[in-house]
């Protein structure tokens, strides 16, 4: 097969990509690691290169860290539950015979292509706004008192916005999986008199389990770094400060680089725990 000549050519061709990614990953990460052990506050011109694990201890022992972890878990958990449950139902629905299937699919997928700042602002102003939002009209229409979503239920509001963006992604991937389901198996089960729910429970769900796992892992990685949606709606106030947002505030707003860097390293470690599981699945698939 491959000659020595093409082998060395191949190595030569792969070098730029590997080199760039290596630099991209290592240089900033090492700098963050270095800062995380330093007392570095540029605004006060403080720079002491080694203060041991002080930043980590301070970051982890502050109440804002733990509340940010809780916020992150609620946010990611809420969005995942909505998108997975909604995605499975939507995928099964879109797989049914119907008129205009292609168009419905386009309608459902569209939100995924809306840039995060646009979807956050549109929801914030035109739906959630207590004076002029559509939801307020709806409340008034039913004779209820309008509800100020972003200050009364800020977490729920952000979960709704982000779920709206990611439901199409879950639907699309689960639909791909549903379509690869062996329909003869389903028909056989139906002929044997298996009710709808047990067909779902014993045939469809096991078949989808892999796709669901992949959706959970990929979404988790993206959701852990939600930023723009929080940035333009609550700016981290009212208990919507996730770990990502907390680190951003420490590093860029209060310019405590040492403390923020320690938080950044913690975020990297947490994300890696999720990443390992995803890599294992992807790696297994590479072998077949």
């Amino acid at each position: 097969m491959a000659t020595m000549h093409s082998r060395s050519a191949a190595r030569f061709m792969i070098t730029p990509a590997v080199f760039l990614l290596l630099v991209w990953m290592l240089v900033p990460l090492c700098m963050t690691l270095y800062f995380s052990f330093a007392d570095y506050r540029p605004l006060r011109a403080t720079f002491e290169p080694w203060i041991g694990f002080d930043n980590y201890l301070r970051f982890v022992s502050s109440s804002s860290f733990w509340s940010s972890i809780v916020t992150t878990l609620w946010m990611v958990g809420g969005i995942l539950s909505i998108t997975i449950v909604g995605g499975v139902l939507m995928a099964l629905l879109l797989d049914r015979p119907m008129f205009g299937q292609g168009i419905v699919r386009i309608l459902v997928i569209a939100p995924f292509f809306v840039m995060p700042t646009v979807s956050a602002l549109v929801w914030k102003n035109m739906f959630f706004n207590v004076d002029n939002g559509l939801f307020s009209y709806l409340y008034k229409f039913f004779g209820a008192q309008p509800f100020d979503f972003l200050s009364q239920a800020p977490m729920l509001s952000i979960i709704v916005i982000v779920s709206w963006q990611w439901l199409p992604f879950a639907t699309l991937i689960l639909l791909t999986a549903v379509q690869s389901l062996d329909s003869e198996q389903l028909e056989a089960a139906e002929m044997d008199g298996a009710p709808v729910l047990s067909r779902f429970r014993f045939i469809i769900l096991p078949h989808l389990s892999r796709a669901i796992t992949v959706v959970i892992l990929i979404q988790t990685i993206f959701l852990l770094s939600i930023f723009a949606e929080i940035f333009v709606t609550t700016n981290g106030a009212f208990g919507t400060r996730t770990l990502t947002y907390l680190v951003y505030q420490r590093v860029l707003e209060s310019q405590n680089v040492g403390l923020g860097s320690a938080g950044g390293i913690i975020a990297v470690i947490l994300a890696n725990i999720v990443a390992i599981f995803l890599m294992r699945i992807v790696g297994k698939n590479l072998d077949n």
Partner: protein
């Protein structure tokens, strides 16, 4: 074979699916409608749906804002620039991994994927510092390079899965016929790989266009693309729903159209071949 499906059943599914489809699409539709209203009509109580005086004034008003054309230009340059730079670097890498796989190919692929999972905040300050030090803060070239790097793993992966599907026998045959590496790439591989490259380009332009962490934090005035331009609407300024809607429509319309063409590639590109 599947049983005959009655028209009645089909109708029920159609109604259900269309209901949910329209619900999902509704925020976009509402933004679209509002963008053609006057500011007063945009907040009228009760809301007006279709019967209002349609006007284009919001679109002209937004374009006259000093920074809109610049933001649009920045978005185009950054999205297209980072994608093509990425393709330039990724095509040789993906080619060699797909056709001359070595012992470590799998490890390299997985390692590349792992760089994608690095949380951005973990490298935020060093990047700001490096950018200032190099004097490229708030410049298009910085954004092109950064977005190229964060999307490079996806580009390599997508191209790799496409190249993998090209049968190796064809390459061997062309080598037998005396084609050298250059001819092999130019006359055999490229024509077969073009559809895959095109879909990769499409998906990555979409991803780069919508990226909203680095584009907001690394730009202020000069290089701010549409994501940052829209974020500047987050401080309300009197009546602004209609203008916000017009600006939003202009920011998402081209990508919505591209997105509809790249539905299938989306699955491949974002699941790294884990779902087929």
């Amino acid at each position: 074979m599947a049983r005959a499906i009655t028209t009645k059943q089909k109708l029920i599914w159609t109604v259900l699916a269309w209901t949910f489809g329209l619900l999902m699409f509704f925020p976009i539709l509402w933004t679209f409608l509002t963008s053609f209203k006057t500011e007063a009509a945009a907040i009228s109580d009760p809301p007006v749906w279709l019967f209002f005086d349609w006007t284009f004034e919001n679109y002209t008003a937004v374009q006259e804002r000093s920074n809109y054309p610049k933001a649009l230009m920045n978005s185009i340059i950054i999205a297209v620039g980072s994608t093509f730079l990425g393709i330039l670097i990724a095509v040789p890498a993906a080619w060699s991994m797909a056709f001359v796989p070595g012992k470590r190919t799998k490890d390299i692929l997985l390692w590349m994927l792992s760089t994608k999972m690095l949380p951005a905040v973990g490298v935020l300050y060093p990047l700001v510092l490096l950018a200032k030090w190099l004097g490229v803060m708030d410049s298009r070239i910085l954004l092109i390079v950064v977005l190229m790097l964060i999307n490079l793993p996806i580009i390599v992966w997508m191209l790799y899965t496409y190249f993998k599907e090209i049968p190796g026998e064809i390459l061997e045959a062309s080598r037998m016929d005396g084609a050298d590496l250059r001819a092999e790439i130019l006359y055999v591989l490229t024509p077969m790989a073009l559809p895959g490259i095109a879909s990769t380009v499409l998906l990555n332009i979409i991803l780069a266009w919508n990226e909203a962490f680095w584009t907001i934090l690394l730009t202020t005035v000069n290089a701010a693309p549409l994501t940052a331009f829209i974020a500047s609407f987050s401080a309300p300024e009197g009546l602004f729903y209609a203008k916000l809607s017009a600006a939003s429509m202009m920011a998402i319309a081209p990508i919505l159209v591209m997105g509809w063409f790249s539905q299938k590639q989306l699955v491949r590109g974002l699941t790294f071949g884990a779902v087929k």
